[in-house]
Amino acid sequence: MGSSTQPVPAPRTLAEKVWDDHLVVKGEDGSPDLLYIDLHLVHEVTSPQAFDGLRVAGRPVRRLDLTIATEDHNTPTQNIDRPIADPTSRIQIETLRTNAAEFGMRLHSLGDLEQGIVHVVGPQLGLTMPGITVVCGDSHTSTHGAFGAMAFGIGTSEVEHVLATQTLPLKAFKTMAITVDGTLRSGVTAKDIILAVIAQIGASGGQGYVLEFRGSAIRALSMEGRMTVCNMSIEAGARAGMIAPDETTYAYLKGRDHAPEGVDWDDAVAYWNTLPTDEGAVFDAEVFLDANTLDPFVTWGTNPGQGVSLSDSVPNPAEIADANDRAAAERALQYMDLVAGTPMKEIPVDAVFMGSCTNSRIEDLRAFASVIKGHTKAEGVRVMVVPGSARVRIEAEAEGLHTIIEEFGAEWRFAGCSMCLGMNPDQLAPGERCASTSNRNFEGRQGKGGRTHLVSPLVAAATAIRGTLSSPADLEG
């Protein structure tokens, strides 16, 4: 028991510990805390105006050794050895190259072994670690929370702020525990967990919170699965999602290029072991989900909270109590060209997209390939498989996954954000319907007039085989 003169420290959550350990200046009288940023990831879309700001003010990048850039949003996923066709995309990529050269920033360009989606590259290099703060001018930075890091997306002004000062002024977040207990059934994945969570708390249910995913079903996930879960925290409105580090985390990290070595590794693990939420720590909100009864999940609308089990039907807006939600549902059905009551499994698709920072890691590709192996894609359905990084592509090819994908009739592409967002040549045509392993089903997200159903890699694969929204179980018999 503690001595009478030493107060027992109050139990803290994982998020509170990471916050406290990065406090440079504690804010007073309503001003924000100043937090130190351990890792800053940069890409071509949200950085040009930030570099301009530095130039105008005559400021250098404070910590080039905590900063790394890659090209992902604008990059084409085929013919990558040729000049980028779209002049505005090309200028944006060239601007990043010029800026990186001028300021001395590490950059992995298209064609480089380490190029890829920024949220795939950080973890794969071993730069993303437990207990650190990570920012990037991209809302899916929440991905890195899978390691027990506090990671969140920032705007371009904040990118400039971090480049100049390696800190950010931030107001404390509230904390929300999302406990997922039980065992996932066969065919149910991390993607289904997070889609079900968002459907339960709503696309703005996490606003103002850092989410902590806990429970036996979360502990059982691989790092890839945990990254999928944390990646979509922002789709519940939360800036960050976190999972306490454990042996799974350490096993993933150990031996990676930038992971600590020797004594540093031992010191790091000793610190990381102190990070999990203390017993008795209080969250501002708590949510529970039963993994045992979870089905494959799929969205029907135009925000990620508008989802149902794949075995359900398109909901009837008339049955939605909240007036704003009802109006949004009516609008969504109109945009999606869906009729209430239609079984989700009867909805035909024109395209299947397997990729994005949510589901483009090696394990995702393995899952997809395991379902399509020996099948041929449904006639008339366009299927695109896009690895998250050049390294993932090489790894997949070493395992022969590309052969399975190409024999299936799908397109095997180079790494990038691809059809997750309408910025590069990979886009849906107006009216086209897509089963997508990405993270956003907003109007026009995958191309103007395109219609998106968010799904897991397993559902994407089964859908590519049958041509209608399907799970692997539908392939039997």
Partner: protein, 200 residues
């Protein structure tokens, strides 16, 4: 950044909830490398519909947008704020904002005032009954005024102070230069470094 106290101008009722930043500015417009020239990109897809509210001449020169809950959710793109500013908006009122969007707005002199859903409906009705009517957003008093209607709004105290003073965040932070340097001296050696490049 210029100091913000009050703004008076035409108000636009945007009767939609969950307006994500992909709607405010579609990704295809994010390729520019400047901070200006985004006015045509604002709500670009919706503006192709002739019945969309911004296509109504009565709302020409609008400066205040009144939108349904969950305005600015989704992508972190600050281009959404630049597009609203370039179009001429100085303030957005909504019952709820996306966190990143609200943060970005404060850095670019765009006031984001949080109002009640009931007041949102009152403002919408008033603007729709007299299209093109002006309203005043008063950051000092934290309220919006439309004729006899006075609607209070919430905004973070610190953001409000910075907007009123027109202060630059980076300059404010650099006042803590010594504290940052001291913090850096205490950081553990195992923390990640991107340079020098390492290969396991």
């Amino acid at each position: 950044m210029e100091k913000f106290t009050t703004v008076t101008g035409v108000g636009v009722p945007l009767r939609r909830s969950a307006v994500d930043t992909d709607q405010i500015i579609p990704a295809v417009f994010l390729k520019r490398v400047t901070k200006t020239g985004f006015e045509d990109a604002l709500f670009a897809n919706w503006r192709q519909d002739p019945t969309f509210v911004l296509n109504d001449d009565a709302y020409a020169g609008a400066r205040v947008l009144v939108a349904g809950p969950n305005f600015g959710t989704g992508s972190s793109r600050e281009h959404a704020v630049w597009a609203l500013r370039d179009y001429g908006f100085d303030a957005v009122l909504s019952p709820k904002f996306g966190d990143i969007f609200r943060g970005n707005s404060g850095k670019q002199g765009l006031v984001t005032g949080q109002i009640s859903e009931a007041d949102c409906e009152l403002l919408w009705s008033a603007m729709e009954s007299q299209p093109g009517i002006e309203l005043t957003v008063d950051l000092i008093e934290r309220h919006a005024v439309l004729g006899d209607l006075v609607v209070p709004f919430d905004i973070d105290d610190y953001v409000r102070w910075r907007l009123l003073e027109g202060l630059d965040d980076i300059a404010l932070t650099l006042r803590n230069e010594q504290a940052i340097t001291d913090f850096e001296a205490s950081r553990a050696s195992w923390l990640p470094k991107t340079l020098p490049v390492r290969h396991a």
